[in-house]
């Protein structure tokens, strides 16, 4: 087997699974260490570099990092990465003087962004310090996009959102509120150097079944949430049915509980395993006494015609029996049931829509009538027009929108400077020894077996008093101190120098997770059969050395279960193993190629 090339950033980056899974590649272990040291402002700034909205994301992120967390490979639960981010955001000092500011002299380039959501704001955040003049067009009276209209304030207080938006707007961004873009053609005619479309996926899917248009008490989820956010709607009936079981449905049912809903049911067509909502959002909803019914498919709305104008009295469902056959869900229809209700909220998905883009501009559309956007450059078929966030490929989440924005900003910068869009600054990395003394390291290498901290919630009576009572209280100092100790410091890499190895087996003997093997050379498949313990995760590459000096065998490491305790390096008499801190360098717009 060829020696593993650990000099290319991807190899060690993949060992930091949280960072690899994060669309914006946030340096999670490093910010957790900064929190452990009480350096909240530094932890916040490190977060902000990659994900721009740490305060918002510390409460609302979809957390792709947590299922990826390597702690789950040796224990049940991942590190509470997301809520630790919130700790940094909550306890930070004023960072105004510490974030990059726009230069006094502009570079003369004008960029228009459509929609003041996370994607456009993040684009502005990357481009303003480079001297660009950025104008954002927003249809509503406030910025934030879905962060404001779709995420209820009991999960994300307005103050947190306002602060992080202000940091960007205060760089000098020209935000035009109440200014929806109605025609791409006329916007293009205004002569901007580049246009970024970050208009999201603002159209909630409809459910066209009998009775749909016979009552005003049938709502589209995201529109209804927006009306609640802008205080156009302040109450709802006692009996509410939510159709759909995604994260929007969770926000709808919990909001209903606060606006007068007493008997709120979430109706799902499939069993729990197939739910789209994040497990923690389901738990939070159930804690608020919301019932989730599975195997119910909506058939029709039941309208009482005797009441003038028609009154919604219930909804009929087809019920199913579900079982799995050969890994596939098989549903058999059983009976029908009518559930009484005062209101129904449809939360069955959302999509992007572009009625305002004229079809003769050279912007090619696909069969779903969405623009065809290049996955690397984020440019559509019309040069100078870029897409990002939910507007690019349909609904995702905030952290994906931010990741898109960083890449789109690179493209916009290249476009405005006549650099080919494909000429993108490369990722880089640094590896620096973490050795501080004989057996002392610049990180805490002892494994702490403490369990995941439980987020404290405001009690039910208190939280239902107002939409504005934030449910999660955040971690207290004791919880924080223990939770940071759960991080395995996966960015402190085990790095091997074969020339130094005397094959004494010390590292192999001490490794608590049987990660290491010295074995005769062979192809990767053969070598995997020679490992000290069988690999549990075949997607994890083997770390293979060049032939060792004395016996020409190879040192092999299966990174999968490594807990980065550093004992291999401590027991190595020749420092052939060393613990080295891996830092990924993620270029931003304006970085040298």
């Amino acid at each position: 087997m060829d020696p593993t090339n650990v000099r290319k950033p991807d190899y060690f980056h993949k060992v930091v699974d949280c960072q690899w899974a994060c669309p914006a590649h946030t340096n999670v272990p490093e910010y957790i260490r900064l929190i452990a040291q009480g350096r909240y402002t530094d932890a916040y700034l490190l977060n902000r570099e990659s994900n721009v909205f740490p305060g918002v994301l510390g409460r609302t992120c979809d957390r792709p990092c947590e299922p990826a967390c390597r702690r789950t490979r040796v224990e049940d639960k991942p590190v509470a990465i997301c809520r630790l981010k919130r700790v940094a955001a909550d306890l930070r000092d004023d960072v105004t003087a510490l974030i990059p500011q726009a230069p006094k002299t502009k570079n003369g380039k004008r960029v228009a962004c459509i929609g003041a959501g996370p994607a456009s704001l993040a684009v502005a955040n990357d481009l303003m310090p480079l001297g660009y003049s950025v104008t954002i067009f927003e249809k509503l009276s406030k910025a934030g996009g879905l962060m404001r209209s779709n995420i209820p304030s009991f999960r994300l207080p307005a103050k947190v959102l306002d602060d992080e938006i202000e940091m960007i707007v205060n760089l000098g961004v020209d935000v035009r509120y109440g200014a929806p873009v109605k025609s791409m053609k006329s916007l293009l005619a205004e002569g901007y150097d580049a246009v970024f479309v970050g208009s999201g996926a603002p159209r909630g899917k409809n459910l066209d079944i009998p009775g749909r248009y016979d009552s005003p008490r049938i709502h589209i989820g995201i529109d209804w949430l927006e009306s609640v956010a802008f205080e156009h709607i302040e109450k709802i009936g006692e009996k509410v049915l939510i159709i759909g079981v995604g994260n929007t449905a969770m926000d709808c049912c919990r909001t209903s509980r606060r606006l007068g809903g007493k008997d709120v049911k979430v109706m799902a067509r499939k069993p729990r395993k197939y739910f789209k909502a994040s497990p923690w959002e389901l738990e939070d909803a159930e804690e608020e006494q919301i019932e989730i019914l599975i195997n119910h498919e909506p058939v029709r709305f039941v309208i009482d015609d005797l009441v003038p104008g028609g009154k919604l009295v219930g909804m009929e469902f087809q019920r199913y029996e579900s079982k799995e056959e050969g890994g596939k869900l098989v549903q058999k229809a059983t009976d029908k049931i009518i559930l009484p209700c005062d209101d129904v909220i449809l939360a069955i998905g959302q999509e992007a829509s572009f009625p305002w883009i004229e079809r003769d501009l050279g912007i090619e559309m696909d069969k779903w009538d969405c623009p065809i956007v290049d996955k690397t450059t984020f440019q559509c078929s019309l040069p100078g027009v870029f897409f990002g966030g939910d507007a690019a490929w349909g609904p995702a989440n905030i952290i994906w929108a931010v990741a898109h924005a960083h890449d789109a900003a690179i493209s916009i910068h290249n476009h405005c400077n006549n650099i080919p869009l494909t000429d993108r600054p490369a990722h880089g990395m640094t590896l620096v020894s973490a050795k501080m003394g004989l057996h002392e390291w610049s990180y805490k290498n002892d494994y702490n077996s403490v369990g995941r901290a439980k987020m404290k919630h405001v009690d039910l009576v208190e939280r239902f008093k107002s939409m504005k009572v934030e449910v999660e209280e955040g971690f207290d100092p004791e919880q924080t101190a223990l939770e940071v100790a759960r991080c395995l410091n996966c960015d402190i890499q085990t790095v091997f120098t074969e020339a130094l190895c005397i094959e004494c087996d010390a590292c192999i003997d001490v490794c608590p997770l049987a990660c290491l093997t010295i074995a005769p050379d062979g192809d990767e498949k053969t070598l995997r059969t020679r490992l000290t313990a069988p690999a549990m995760n075949l997607t994890q590459e083997l770390y293979a050395s060049a032939p060792l000096p004395q016996t020409k065998r190879l040192m092999l490491k299966d990174e999968d279960l490594c807990v980065h305790c550093g004992l291999c390096a401590e027991r190595c008499p020749t420092a052939a193993w060393d613990m080295q801190k891996f830092d990924l360098f993620m270029p931003r717009a304006g970085a040298k190629t």
């Binding site: 040796v74 224990e75 057996h439 002392e440 290498n445 002892d446 494994y447 077996s449 005397i502 094959e503 004494c504 087996d505 010390a506 192999i508 003997d509 001490v510 608590p512 997770l513 049987a514 313990a533 069988p534 549990m536 004395q550 016996t551 279960l561 807990v563 305790c565 004992l567 401590e570 027991r571 190595c572 008499p573 020749t574």
Partner: protein, 351 residues
């Protein structure tokens, strides 16, 4: 020396043995020996051997004397009985313990200083007596704890760290044991667990004293150029004579090897040691031939390794003394000490 303990988390695929214990359950405290010490590898091999043999930890007694090697029983099987004796006196303590309680599995860990200098007489008599034990010598040719003076096993011409050559002839525990009637004699290398673990297992199962001389380099004082006990020198000069396979009782025995190259020896408990002859003219059951072969090879500068001699018909201490099957420690006091009248009668018998 590490400041942290080995994390308790373990690989999910670790196999439990017949007692439901994983290999981690046979570990001991963190080693305080120098990083890279051969002794730590021997420790790891002992851990594996006991785990694979399904030995209940509370039925193991681990004993040692003084020296780097004698620290190692702390580092394996925390659940076992332990005894740290005076320098070189481990064999006497094991003899006494084994006499009192024949039920335990005894492992004595010693070094070239503890066994070949101060304790040479002790070791020799334990071999003569054929105490039922595994006797491991962690042999590195230097006194490590006192900063690297030549030990009794240092070869003539082997150089100290400062460059001085040793002039006194070495005591070879293998040749010594063969000459005084040992029934199980093996040599292995700490850097080769594939060979060491089966030898340790066979040694534990052997009825009588199993002497295993393990070349276990001292990384701090004897792993330099010019040393004949370094990792490099041992790897270059080791001569595999016999490769042993330990086959536990009731396991099927495969016979795919060409006839004549494999010899099997059945042990007292029914398990089998399969001896693969790497040197074709070698017979590990013939003491005289083995002695002259090993003598000649050693003179030529080779280090013969493997299960070098085995005799399953030898008489172990309890058999020789015709003691009762029940451990003496469990025999009621009245029977053990039947009183002065019985003593008087016994003495009359000898008059």
């Amino acid at each position: 020396m590490s400041y942290i303990k080995k994390p308790a988390v373990r690989h999910p695929s670790l196999q439990a043995n017949a007692l439901g214990l994983t290999v981690r359950d046979y570990e001991g405290a963190m080693s305080t020996l120098c990083a890279g010490c051969g002794h730590d590898s021997v420790t790891a091999a002992i851990v594996r051997a006991f785990h694979e043999l399904d030995t209940p930890p509370h039925l193991i007694a681990k004993l040692s004397g003084i020296g780097c090697s004698s620290k190692t029983p702390t580092y394996f099987v925390s659940g076992a009985h332990g005894f740290n004796s005076a320098h070189g006196r481990m064999p006497a303590i094991v003899s006494g313990a084994a006499a009192a309680n024949r039920e335990l599995t005894y492992i004595g860990v010693s070094g070239d200083g503890d066994s070949l200098s101060i304790g040479l007489g002790q070791m020799a008599h334990a071999i003569r007596r054929n105490v039922n034990m595994l006797y491991v010598i962690e042999n590195n040719g230097v006194y490590g704890l006192t900063k690297g003076q030549f030990s009794a096993s240092a070869d003539v011409g082997s150089k100290s760290k400062k460059g001085e050559a040793n002039t006194q002839s070495p005591i070879d525990p293998i040749m010594l044991a063969l000459s005084i009637g040992a029934t199980f004699v093996a040599r292995s290398f700490s850097g080769d667990k594939a060979a060491l673990v089966p030898i340790l297992k066979a040694g534990i199962r052997h009825k009588g004293l199993a002497l295993v001389d393990v070349l276990s380099p001292c990384v701090t004082f004897n792993d330099h150029e010019g040393s004949t006990k370094s990792y490099t020198h041992t790897r270059k000069h080791q001569l595999p004579v016999i490769e042993a396979d330990f086959v536990p009782r009731r396991s099927p025995i495969e016979t795919s090897q060409a006839p004549g190259t494999v010899q099997t020896v059945t042990m007292h408990d029914g398990s089998v040691v399969r001896l693969h002859k790497v040197a074709a003219d070698y017979d590990p059951t013939d003491r005289e031939k083995a002695w002259s072969f090993l003598h000649a090879r050693a003179a030529a500068g080779d280090i013969p390794v493997g299960l070098l001699y085995i005799d399953e018909k030898g008489t172990e201490m309890h058999a020789g003394n015709k003691t009762v099957a029940q451990p003496l420690s469990q025999v009621p006091f009245e029977q053990l000490c039947p009183g002065s009248a019985a003593l008087e009668a016994l003495q009359q018998h000898y008059r």
